[in-house]
């Protein structure tokens, strides 16, 4: 059973198609993040209107075909037929979280509302489940792409495709690489004379993914990797802030989290010191995690190379 290429295939870039073929490293690690990097927190509402996601209902033209497809391609278990108060043929399928999918057979299926491509349904998988899905996409010759190809952090995987009834589906997968500490480990970086930096300067050391910042309190060397998910942040000079183009987290020049995602730690630090010739030196062999900026994390030019977090 093949899924025909979708009608808007012409919109896709080569990058979106190529990205869909990338495989995560084998792992059974459960997802750490929610949709598009969102990190849900425990509800503080004592009596929420609803408590949990239960199921998704999809209209299909052939329940036998759809049940087989969602079982074999998407990896769902078949729970049974006729389990819902609906006289039309329907199949209930189960995922590991207890979420259910109900496929209801009908004649006039509207998989995506006319006039909008917005309606889509996303599922999450472990890296090994995602790898299995990739094999099935190859086997079934399913037209797959990645809408967010340019906006995926390290260890973040996404696939977009359609089911046999043209429902728009997405699969999200985050691997341990998305949240592990990344060390450039390029030894000691010589950033030139300290005297060349003015208060307010921000310099990117691209090869090491390190930002060197001169504040009035002294120098800070901060990791370029976002503390939310491993995306490379960028310095937005016009707004005096760092921002992550992947999931929108923002940080000020001291590395404090300022928005875009809830409750993030400040950007991580590397040790800064100074050579006998007055050059700024950054030790990239160790990175220090911190909750927020403290003035003593800054290093003044008269100090030798010491741990930034010490």
């Amino acid at each position: 059973m093949e899924t025909a290429p979708t009608k808007d295939a012409g919109f896709r870039t080569k990058r979106q198609m190529e990205k869909a073929k990338e495989l995560p490293s084998a792992s059974d690690a459960l997802p750490k993040y929610g949709g598009h990097g969102y990190v849900p927190t425990a509800e503080d509402d004592e009596e929420p209107f609803v408590e949990r996601i239960s199921h998704l209902v999809l209209g299909v033209t052939d329940v036998d075909r759809a049940e087989h497809w969602y079982n074999d391609v998407m990896g769902m278990d078949v729970l049974g037929r006729g389990l819902m108060a609906d006289t039309r043929p329907h199949s209930v399928m189960r995922m590991n979280s207890g979420c259910l999918l109900v496929l209801v057979e009908g004649k006039d299926i509207v998989p995506r509302r006319p006039g909008t491509n917005a309606v889509h349904h996303a599922f999450n998988m472990t890296p090994n489940q995602y790898r299995r899905l990739q094999e099935k996409i190859e086997e079934y010759k399913i037209d797959a792409w990645v809408d967010r190809a340019q906006f995926l952090a390290q260890g973040e995987y996404n696939l977009n495709f359609r089911d046999p009834d043209d429902h728009a589906l997405e699969v999200c997968c985050d691997t341990p690489e998305a949240s592990e500490l990344i060390l450039p480990n390029v030894g000691i970086l010589d950033c030139g004379p300290a005297s060349q930096y003015n208060v307010g300067d921000v310099k990117l050391l691209k090869d090491a993914d390190v930002y060197l910042i001169r504040l009035k309190e002294g120098f800070l060397a901060m990791s370029r990797w976002c503390t939310h998910m491993n995306g490379r942040i960028i310095w937005n000079r016009e707004h005096w802030r760092f921002q992550c183009p992947y999931h929108h987290a923002t940080f000020d020049r001291r590395g404090n989290h300022t928005g875009g995602q809830p409750d993030l730690d400040a950007l991580r630090l590397y040790s800064v010191g100074f050579g006998p010739d007055g050059h700024v030196l950054i030790d990239t062999s160790q990175v220090t995690q911190r909750a927020c900026f403290e003035p003593d994390q800054c290093v003044q030019p008269d100090r030798a190379l010491v741990g930034a977090g010490a």
Partner: protein
């Protein structure tokens, strides 16, 4: 054991994203997560627009504006397209039905499902964009598990 963990998020289309967000946040108690303005290549290419994301019971709703006028459906319950369903406990279901009436939510039901299935009772309604939604209680709620690693660790710690 299935080869898929669970539902992750959904995209919904509404005529007015502010009105849509108000429905999810004010009426159903969702939390605003963020507004995505640049996270897809479609948006960069001018084929999309900034859209708010709201979290309801740990599930992410991404709201997009209609590209053109779409008429609202005639019925509150629909299976011709897609429907998202949330669950509450059996004990709370009657309260939720009453509360839905109190806040002026038009709904269909409650409908009772077969006893041999996983569903207990359901009510059906639509959001301001005409997207079908459902609230139910599940007979198999003792088997329901959460989706993400930290949630399962938290559950195991309190079990």
């Amino acid at each position: 054991m299935a080869n898929i963990e669970g539902l992750d998020h959904t995209g919904r289309s509404v005529p007015d994203v502010r009105e849509g967000e108000d429905f999810y946040v004010s009426l159903l108690g969702a939390k605003h997560c963020n507004t995505i303005a640049s996270a897809t290549e479609d948006v960069r290419a001018g084929r999309g627009a900034p859209h708010p994301c709201n979290v309801l019971a740990g599930y992410l709703f991404v709201l997009f504006p209609h590209a053109k006028h779409l008429p609202l459906p005639d019925a509150l319950k629909g299976e011709d397209g897609s429907r998202i369903a949330f669950a509450v406990s059996r004990q709370r279901f009657d309260d939720v039905v009453e509360r839905a009436g109190d806040i002026g939510l038009s709904f269909e039901g409650p409908v009772t499902h077969p006893e041999h299935g996983p569903f207990g009772e359901s009510i059906y309604f639509t959001d301001p964009g005409g997207n079908y939604m459902e609230i139910c209680w599940r007979r198999d709620s003792d088997q329901a598990r959460t989706r993400l690693a930290w949630e399962r660790e938290a559950e195991a710690a309190t079990a």
